[in-house]
């Protein structure tokens, strides 16, 4: 599947920097807000971009508030930096919902996030219900981001590499070997690969990849799985942990 390939004009309804290079943005798009499922993503473009940047940018949805989608965006390049310069009331174009999201859990899930990987998991928690939420961040400088997340999920268990926020360690320190609760994870590839060693009963991971089309056409975003190369945009972005070939 390629999700809904329609583009919708939308307006920015709220924006807030939650750290030096992390933007929280809300866009009003009723048709996507009513149909999007946790783990699916949207493609975003600013009509003022013209041909540069050329491509739409993929983002996870971190929450739905009525007709609004909430996104958490790390400013990593020209496209995201330009988005950060936009204001409430400005127009954007959004396409979605895209991709295959998380399956419904059969029991209370554990959400395991590495930094910005918290975004799709917050939305999963909003729809699937509360469960343990374990977050790992690098440390110093990530305080505003953690504050932002804790305001939405007060029971969040926070780990940081340098120990400056929460407990020293990584998000995986919040997991036990052989977890019997379903695990939903999103974060750096290394973090998710390491979950394999913990042998959870079940785990779904949301992956990120550089995309061109975002609709399943170009095969630019593939990852290695036990069934061969699969498209993150259309076959994912959510995969079962054991499907992914982590040392590819």
């Amino acid at each position: 599947m390629s999700g809904n390939v329609d583009d919708f004009p939308c307006k920015i309804t709220a924006r807030e920097m939650v750290g030096e290079d992390i933007l929280s943005i809300r866009v009003r798009c009723p048709s996507i807000a009513e149909s999007i499922y946790p783990g699916q993503f949207v493609l975003l473009r600013d009509p003022s971009w013209g041909m540069d940047p050329l491509l739409m940018r993929p983002f996870a949805v971190s929450a739905v508030h009525g007709e609004d989608l909430e996104l958490l965006i790390k400013l990593v390049g020209r496209g995201t930096s330009l988005l950060a310069g936009r204001s409430v009331g400005d127009d954007l174009v959004v396409r979605g919902p895209m991709g295959r999201g998380f399956s419904s859990p059969e029991s209370s899930p554990i959400y395991v996030a590495g930094a910005l990987g918290a975004a799709p998991l917050l939305f999963a928690r909003q729809v699937f219900g509360a469960g343990r939420f374990v977050l790992g961040v690098p440390g110093e400088g990530w305080g505003p981001f953690v504050d932002y997340l804790e305001a939405r999920c007060p029971e969040m268990e926070v780990f940081s590499d340098d120990g400056s926020i929460g407990v020293r360690g990584t998000a995986l320190d919040g997991l036990e070997k052989g977890e019997s609760h379903p695990v939903y994870a999103c974060g750096p590839m290394g973090m998710m690969a390491a979950i394999v060693k913990l042998e959870p009963l079940s785990c779904q991971v949301s992956l990120e990849s550089r995309m061109a089309c975002g609709i399943g056409a170009c095969c630019g975003c593939v990852i290695e799985t036990i069934q061969g190369k699969r498209r993150v945009c259309a076959d994912g972005p959510v995969f079962n942990l054991e499907e992914v070939v982590w040392n590819a």
Binding site: S2, N4, A212, I215, A217, G228, A248
Partner: protein
């Protein structure tokens, strides 16, 4: 009544906008009537004899107004195309162009023989002698008039239907390659495929792509593609299909005025999935304003 229909040799198209190979998937959600009714034909992803996994490592890299790709012809092979894809695609009512990518002569012959089994469902073969992203075959044939001629002749021996040749802009003598293709039995030329480019990951201090070089496309290449269309269409008498950076109705009109009969859209589709519709709206407005009833009357007018 404005007439935007064109004929590529014996292939009639309701619209001069063709979706280029590699930029349209087989997923059902893409084959919607409202998206395709403005499209003249859809080129399949490149088909190889055996299934191909494509290239490892990074596969795409955006540049200002452009895109580098190193997909490496990922596809499920000729048998899957004939047995699984064609039966599904034929019901959508859009002409399907089979983009056939050659590695060697034996493989090419087998692919064309298999396509003969579904010849009534395939509007044309687009012989891809131009992909820059594989080590074996493909572009190495398209840079040479002699090898291009050899490849076209091989297909012609088996395939009775329309045959297009997708050229590489890397050919040192594009007119020579074009004439060789025409003389060997090609019915049309697609001008062109992606340009060779590369990118360096400055932070990592290494080439972005495992193969170092990649194919460059997007609005940035339009002037170069336009120049090739002008050159090649002046050298042959068969129809030329312009391909490279077309992003607007005015781009399409420029390609037509330079000598193209139709155009293929590739990277532009990634930015705007309704690009065919939007392009045609702009073209119709131009034709109305300029009192041009038939688009085909503009082919090559800039040369006259």
């Amino acid at each position: 009544m404005l007439d935007l229909s064109v004929n590529i040799g014996s292939v009639p198209l309701r619209s001069p906008v063709i979706i280029a190979s590699g930029t349209w998937g087989y997923d059902e959600s893409l084959w919607r009537d409202d998206l395709l009714r403005h499209v003249g034909a859809v080129c399949s992803k490149a088909i190889t004899e055996s299934p191909k996994d494509g290239n490892p490592g990074h596969r795409i890299w955006e540049t200002p107004c452009g895109l580098l790709n190193s997909i490496g012809l990922q596809n499920t092979g000729i048998d899957d195309f004939v047995d699984e894809k064609v039966p599904k695609l034929k019901s959508y009512g859009v002409p399907i162009i089979a983009n056939v990518s050659m590695e060697d002569e034996r493989g090419l012959a087998r692919m064309v023989e298999r396509l003969m089994e579904v010849a009534d469902c395939v509007a044309a073969i687009e012989l891809n002698v131009s992909c820059p992203n594989v080590d074996k075959g493909c572009m190495s044939w398209g840079v040479s008039p002699v090898l291009t001629s050899q490849a076209v002749s091989m297909v012609r021996e088996v395939w009775r239907g329309p045959l297009w040749v997708k050229m590489t802009p890397q050919a040192p003598d594009p007119e020579g390659v074009a004439r060789a293709a025409e003389d060997s039995g090609a019915d049309a030329l697609v001008v062109a495929n992606t340009w060779l480019g590369m990118a360096i990951d400055v932070d990592g201090r290494k080439a972005v792509f495992d193969r170092v070089v990649a194919g460059f496309s997007g609005p940035a290449v339009f002037p170069m593609a336009l120049r090739l269309v002008w050159q090649v269409s002046s050298a042959v008498s068969i129809p030329v299909i312009g391909c490279g950076g077309v992003s607007s109705g005015r781009d399409l009109l420029a390609m037509i005025m330079a000598g193209a009969t139709a155009i293929e859209l590739g990277t532009g589709m990634f930015r705007d999935i309704r690009l065919p519709e939007n392009i045609l709206r702009e073209v119709k407005a131009y034709m109305t304003e300029e009192k041009v009833e038939e688009l085909r009357s503009l082919v090559g007018v800039a040369k006259k």
